[in-house]
Symmetry: C2
Subunit: 211 residues, 2 copies
DNA sequence: ACATTTATTAACTATATGGTTAATTATAAA
DNA sequence: TTTATAATTAACCATATAGTTAATAAATGT
């Protein structure tokens, strides 16, 4: 009889990554503990050994998805004195972050469509900080007379919402394009192109003068 | 003993409206047949008397939410020869439609974040048609040299996504604004203002020349 | 008035769900 | 080597879930 080895770190990591994928794909309610356990190849009780309950696991998953967002997108104590460059950095860094953490957009959008039903504080905090960052950049741009008629919340939805939707709707867009390919649903667009496009369009709508 | 009266139309309508609210608020998976029955004040078996199953009821709810979208937003056989006016009409009519059918944005966004897991054909069709309409307007504007550098799918996300997110995030935005009111989360913006703002900004990003 | 149809009811069913428990076993510490 | 600790297991549990069934009763048809 083969002796089984134990690696608590590996087990815990497998739970997190597998849960992230399942929560992202199926949503919180449709993802069961049994399903996660089966997908991990572990006994279900392990989940409750490492996490207090399902919602606790969900919180851990979201924390993990957002763990680097502070360093990569929200740079602490940084001064935002160059709004145009900062705006470009914001858009492209967020887009890149989503590409590297492909389960985040669906998780985020679900909470945004759900009025935050299961939204842990850590995620609410990150979302608020993300918005605060963009808001600061936009306000600085307005102060410097580079940007005009700024409404940060709506600009935020246009940038972050669009990036998220671009990612989450990929299967639907491909399905649509199979039915009729007269309509261009951006199936061949890559994230870099989309980020560039958004930046270009946001500059226009902010009234940025051509240099 | 008071005799009970029956009104099948009223019962059916109550199931639809109550389900719409619950599916919108809680999502499909977290909304139970028992809960719907209780909220309607009917016996649960009535739901399965009128609808084959839960997913069938969901489909009926979505059909109901979208039933007027064809007449009000997507006008059949109409010519789109005035892209600027047509664009304005599209944005404002969609915004108004969402205001009159407040449960639609959450239902829509959930499906968009879900890769359409429970998406009935009727809704997929409506979504495709809605996008096709905007696409047509944008392409005509490009043809007439009124609009420039058009990417219909991304513009669609910026318009429709933003309107949907504005509605679904209202509680979260209010919650955020209570924590710190230094950040403006558009809590006092009404739908008309938002629609106007979006139209103004979309004109700019399409490169519309001032008249 | 009686027969038929339809809407409603209470109770039931098989299965699923989040979580628990006690035993077992691999690993680390003494 | 023995003891203690931590990770894992199989089985269990109370409750919930989507749906079913047969009986009942209101409404309609003859």
């Amino acid at each position: 009889m083969q002796k089984k080895t134990r690696d608590s770190q590996a087990t815990k990591a497998k739970i997190i990554h597998t849960s992230m994928m399942l929560f992202s794909t199926n949503g919180y309610d449709a993802t069961t503990a049994d399903e996660i356990a089966k997908a991990c190849g572990i006994n279900k009780a392990m989940i409750f050994y490492y996490y207090k309950n399902k919602v606790g696991l969900y919180g851990a998953v979201l924390s993990h998805a957002l763990e680097s967002i502070h360093e990569e997108v929200i740079s602490k104590d940084k001064e935002y004195l160059h709004p145009l460059e900062d705006l470009e950095t914001f858009i492209k860094t967020y887009a890149l972050y989503c590409e590297k953490h492909p389960y985040l957009p669906a998780l985020l959008l679900r909470e945004l469509s759900n009025s935050g039903a299961y939204l842990p504080d850590v995620m609410f905090d990150s979302m608020r900080k993300l918005f605060a960052l963009l808001s600061k950049i936009l306000k600085e741009g307005e102060r410097q007379k580079l940007f005009f008629n700024v409404e940060p919340m709506l600009i935020h939805f246009m940038i972050v919402g669009t990036i998220n939707l671009f990612i989450t709707t990929k299967p639907l867009r491909e399905k649509s394009s199979k039915i009729e390919n007269e309509i261009d649903t951006c199936c061949d667009c890559d994230m870099e192109y989309v980020a560039d496009y958004i930046f270009t369009k946001v500059k226009l709508m902010l009234g940025v003068k051509p240099t």
